[in-house]
Amino acid sequence: MRHHTSPPIIEARGLTKRFGDVQALAGLDLVAEPGQVVAVLGPNGAGKTTFVRSLATLVQPDDGTLRVAGVDAVRHPEQVRRVIGLAGQFAAVEEAMTGRENLHMVARLFGHSRRRAAVNATTVLAQLGLTDAADRLVRTYSGGMRRRLDLGASLVGAPRLLLLDEPTTGLDPRSRNELWEAIRRLVAAGTDVLLTTQYLDEADQLAHRVVIVDKGRVIADGTPGELKSRAGRDVIEVRAHRSSDLPALAGALAAVGVEGPRVHAGTSRVTVPVDGGRTVIAAAVRAVDALGVDVDDIGLRRPTLDEVFLALTGEPIEPIDRDGDDDGASSSAGAAGQSTDADHHHDDHATIAERAEPVGVH
């Protein structure tokens, strides 16, 4: 139910948008109350960017209603633009200007006086740890600094709702952490944030609420913890020293798992979903130990986006047959109910798994 005093910061109902043959949004519903950080999580092509661009009034939905802070984004886009700040997938800053000049420019366009624009620029530069680099040309900035400046550019107008479209894609881990830190501070200062991401851990780190989007629709919605407990089990992952041991390892781990183990030959790993959290790790270690096989690593970790996604949709993120080195090797373990489909997208899996937060012994 809506409060009459404070409308939802975002209210999307039945949003659709088609680009040629591509149905980017297929009836997306999302209502976000003020004071939340919402992460929209989904694979490439899920409609995340189209949704953000609709909120930023850069895309007009074909159908459905979209309100930002109670204002109809289709009828009154100019009012919505006063409320939002957008930081897109690229660092949209001018390389031939200094960090300060970039922020000053955007602040002026937000309607600030020269003096106020200068003050805001200085404030934001300090907030993002760019004071030392403020008067250097952006072309001398690192990728992480550019992204932070880009974030800053969306802040100088003091927006109520910050829209961040894959804010950390392509950043190294340290820059990613710095950007996360900056976003957390903003949130603490009271800015509402909607961010899109492909990474479960990013959603986990930043958001109170995670909305999983697939094929232009919301397929799951909840706190990060809720989603994981609903949609994905913790995973025990073992890295074999010799890949010839993989079938034996899979056989041994089948006993501790609640579903069949999966073998990832390309990365010499076996994964198995488990229940019971930390207690099963001991059982897994004993099982591997009893086998007498050398392993490089064994650990319990949270499910990756792949795994959550697979559990929710029954299909992997990108059902594309690639020439992955896992193909054909994945069913060799002979454990009951073994799944093979997740191995068709080994590349994504490996990337996301490496980013996943380990929660057990490693």
Binding site: R82, E94, M97, L109, F110, Q127, A158, A182
Partner: protein, 274 residues
């Protein structure tokens, strides 16, 4: 390690929107800074411009029959007019690049008039074009060009080029918006070549094949060249033209108005379209 503190002050939201003039001036400031701080652009375009002028003047020039006036007097007005096109095609690439890199999205998500954003860009680029044309004209002087008309006529000729540049700038911005990326924009800008060469800019039109002459005679580059040439030579007859200088000036202004009337709304529409 970067330390991030949030006590440096509070960011206050703006109480009003940026006005049209402030908006245009702000984005214009960006274009000018970019130009000034990327000196290689200026150097490269000046060198290319000078090189082609020298080639036309000294290599082709001897073979072109231009009646009562030396080829250099015939060439430089046409050359200055066509440099509007070559400068403009760089603007297309710049606009497309902004689109590609999300800079345009940033601007379009701000609470400002999109028409003012475009107008600022077009005005800044026109100003920078004027600078480039002044350099080109100066090189023309170096290779022996002297205007035969009055100083007022010469200034008028230069002003006409800038008006024409302003008009065409809308077309180049539209090309950049439609192209969507810098390479495509460069490809689409190839239309600059037939426009420049199938005209009176470098050679008299009457040496062209019969079917080509009507096109060459009536397209805007020819009209503009004829106007500028009439002013520069002080007499249209010297350029082998019938009609008075005023006739050509009015006609070229009419073309400029028509070009703005066609391309400015299209560019604005395209820019606003989401």
């Amino acid at each position: 390690m970067t330390t991030i503190t949030f006590d440096a002050g509070r960011i206050e939201p703006a109480t009003r929107s940026a006005g049209l003039v402030a908006t245009a001036a702000t984005v214009a400031g960006r274009s000018v800074r970019k130009f000034v701080r990327t000196p290689q652009l200026l150097v490269i375009s000046t060198i290319t411009g000078a090189m082609f002028l020298l080639i036309f003047r000294y290599v082709f020039g001897g073979a072109v029959e231009t009646g009562p006036v030396p080829y250099v007097a015939f060439l430089v007005p046409g050359y200055v007019v066509t440099s509007v096109l070559f400068t403009g095609s760089n603007v297309s690439s710049g606009v497309a690049e902004d689109l590609e890199q999300g800079f345009t999205d940033r601007l379009r998500s701000l609470p400002v008039s999109r028409t003012a954003l475009m107008a600022g860009r077009v005005l800044a680029e026109t100003g920078l074009l004027a600078l480039g044309l002044a350099v080109t004209t100066a090189i023309g002087f170096v290779v022996g060009f002297r205007p035969e008309g009055t100083a007022v006529e010469a200034l008028l000729a230069f002003g006409l080029c800038i008006v024409f540049g302003f008009a065409l700038m809308w077309m180049f911005v539209l090309i950049g918006l439609v192209a969507g990326n810098a390479q495509a924009a460069q490809g689409m800008s190839l239309l600059v070549f037939p426009l420049s060469f199938v005209s009176s800019a470098f050679v008299p039109v009457d040496t062209m094949p019969g079917w080509m002459q009507p096109i060459a005679e009536h397209q805007p580059i020819t009209v503009m060249t004829n106007a500028v040439r009439s002013l520069a030579l002080g007499d249209p007859a010297l350029a082998g033209l019938s009609g008075s200088t005023a006739h050509w000036v009015v006609l070229s202004l009419a073309w400029s108005v028509a070009i703005v009337a066609l391309f400015a709304p299209l560019a604005v529409l395209r820019y606003r379209r989401s």
